[in-house]
Each structure stands twice: as C-alpha cells, then as structure tokens.
C-alpha cells in the first residue's frame, strides 16, 4: 500500500446561510460569514489516494492524470465561482468547508482507476482553518 498526494487550489465566494432560518438566526449562528453579499477565500485542496503500485509503470497512478481529474471535476467548476450560486454539485447544500470537502470527495471517486482508492480530502479555507474527510 502506498499513498500519493496532490495539491491544488481555487478561489471562490460563499456565504454561510441556512434558508430555513430567519435573517436574525443566521446572523446569530454564522455571524459575519452570513454577510448577504458573500465573502471569499483562497481554498487549498490536498487530495490523497492509496493503493498498490503497478509493476509496469512504477506508479500508483500517473500524478498528471490525477491532476486532470481534479482540474476537470473539482477546480474548473469551483474556481472563481460563487459556491452558493454557481456550482451544480453544491446546489441546496450549505456551503461550509465540511460540506464542500464531502462534495469534492463525491466528485473525485467515480473517476479514479479501479486499483486506486481515495484516502483523504483535506481542504483549507484559510491558512488557519482546514477540514479532512476520509469517506466515512
């Protein structure tokens, strides 16, 4: 078993807002993160896959192909977008870092080769705040 990690980044706007709550309740729970006109972040994404090394290539997976999957299915739909308004796979989901990490996991897994498992999606919202998701 070996692990391979790839770093990517994207910049996006969002707000934390529960549409089932009043404005007051949203302000109380989410504070300035509920600002009506959004705010934004430089997100740093760290994706780790795991599996056995292929004898023919010496690779777990071609890192360039992993990068292409992350670009096509994660960064391209998210970069310079509004997470609340523009991203189909976040529609109806509260745009917290936790929920975004799980959505990114779901975006990646269908596209990995059968010998490779996704191990961890680590997502930094700021240099000081990050979440990790291991698929369960």
């Amino acid at each position: 078993m070996i692990f391979l990690t790839r770093h990517e980044h994207f910049n996006a706007a969002h707000k934390l807002y529960n549409t089932g709550w009043s404005e007051e309740k949203n302000q109380e729970v989410f504070g300035k993160c509920a600002n009506a006109n959004w705010h934004g972040h430089n997100y740093e994404l760290i994706v780790t896959i795991k599996g056995e090394i292929e004898k023919e290539t010496g690779f777990l997976m071609d890192a360039k192909k992993l990068s292409e999957i992350l670009q096509t299915y994660v960064c391209e739909p998210l970069d310079h977008r509004n997470l609340n308004m523009d991203v189909p796979f976040m529609a109806g989901v509260l745009a917290s870092t936790e929920n975004l990490a799980i959505a990114i996991w779901q975006q990646i897994t269908p596209h990995l080769p059968t010998n490779v498992k996704l191990h961890c999606v680590k997502l930094y919202e700021t240099p000081r705040i990050c979440v990790e998701y291991f698929g369960n």
């Binding site: 980044h9 910049n11 996006a12 706007a13 969002h14 300035k32 993160c33 600002n35 006109n37 959004w38 705010h39 934004g40 972040h41 430089n42 970069d79 310079h80 977008r81 509004n82 308004m85 523009d86 700021t126 240099p127």
Partner: protein, 137 residues
C-alpha cells in the same frame, strides 16, 4: 547615523470581489478579466502588511506603538473589508475596480489620513500566496 526604523504589522481579511469596468462592454470585460469577471463574484484570503518608517522616539523607544497601528488597521480596514463584498459593501469601490492594485492604494489613502505626517507608509497586499502588490513604489 539615522535612527529611522521600519515597523511592520500583518493582518488579514477574507472578501469577495469581481473585476469589472463600466467603461468596457460585457465582451471586453470577459476578454480582459477572464474568470475574475464572473458575474457572481469569487473571493480571496487577503494578507495585508503595513510598513511604517519613522524615527525612534527617545522616550518610548518606539517608532510607533504596534498596538496603536494594529488598532488603526483593525478599525479602518479589517472591520470594513473582512467578510465583505468589496464591490458592493465597501464605498471606495463603488466606482473603482477592486484590483489588488486599487485595494492597496485605497488602504494607503485610508491609513495615511490616520497617521502623523512624520511617518513614511507602505502597503503590501497579498491577494493569493502567488500574487501581491506594493504601494507606493
């Protein structure tokens, strides 16, 4: 020998913005600013470094009390910019494109008004880890 010393203070704020010029057509805006022009905004973690140069006060030993500088930055910049939409929520950008260059100049103008004239001020603003600007230069 000069007893001028540069004092630096770092702060950060997170904000949404988009790049758009009213002087350009939609097509020209898209061509000029690319994905930074997307209609529904995107955002950044901005890192702000303020440099104040001045002579050391012989009584206090300070060029400027960093607590005072921090408070000026917090009240006049961070509270007004953090978790805001620069285009919609910050009046200085009502008719000014919020590029990193213009944000740095706006921050300079705001802080310059708050500081004694004896100080020399410089703003460094990181929009991302890879893109940053300085004003004045």
């Amino acid at each position: 020998m000069s007893n001028k010393v540069a004092v630096f203070r770092k702060e950060h704020f997170n904000a949404a913005h988009r790049l758009h010029s009213d002087k350009l057509s939609d097509a020209e805006n898209a061509a000029t600013f690319g994905k930074c022009n997307y209609a529904n905004y995107h955002g950044h973690n901005y890192d702000l470094i303020v440099r104040v140069i001045g002579e050391i006060d012989p009584i206090t030993g300070f060029v400027i009390d960093t607590k005072v500088l921090s408070e000026l930055m917090r009240v006049h910049i961070i509270e007004r910019f953090d978790h805001k939409n620069l285009n919609l929520d910050v009046k200085e950008f009502k008719d000014l494109n919020p590029t990193a260059e213009n944000i740095a100049m706006v921050i300079y103008t705001i802080l310059k008004q708050q500081l004694d004239n004896r100080y020399d001020l410089k703003i460094t603003l990181y929009e991302t880890e890879r893109n940053y600007v300085e004003f004045p230069c």
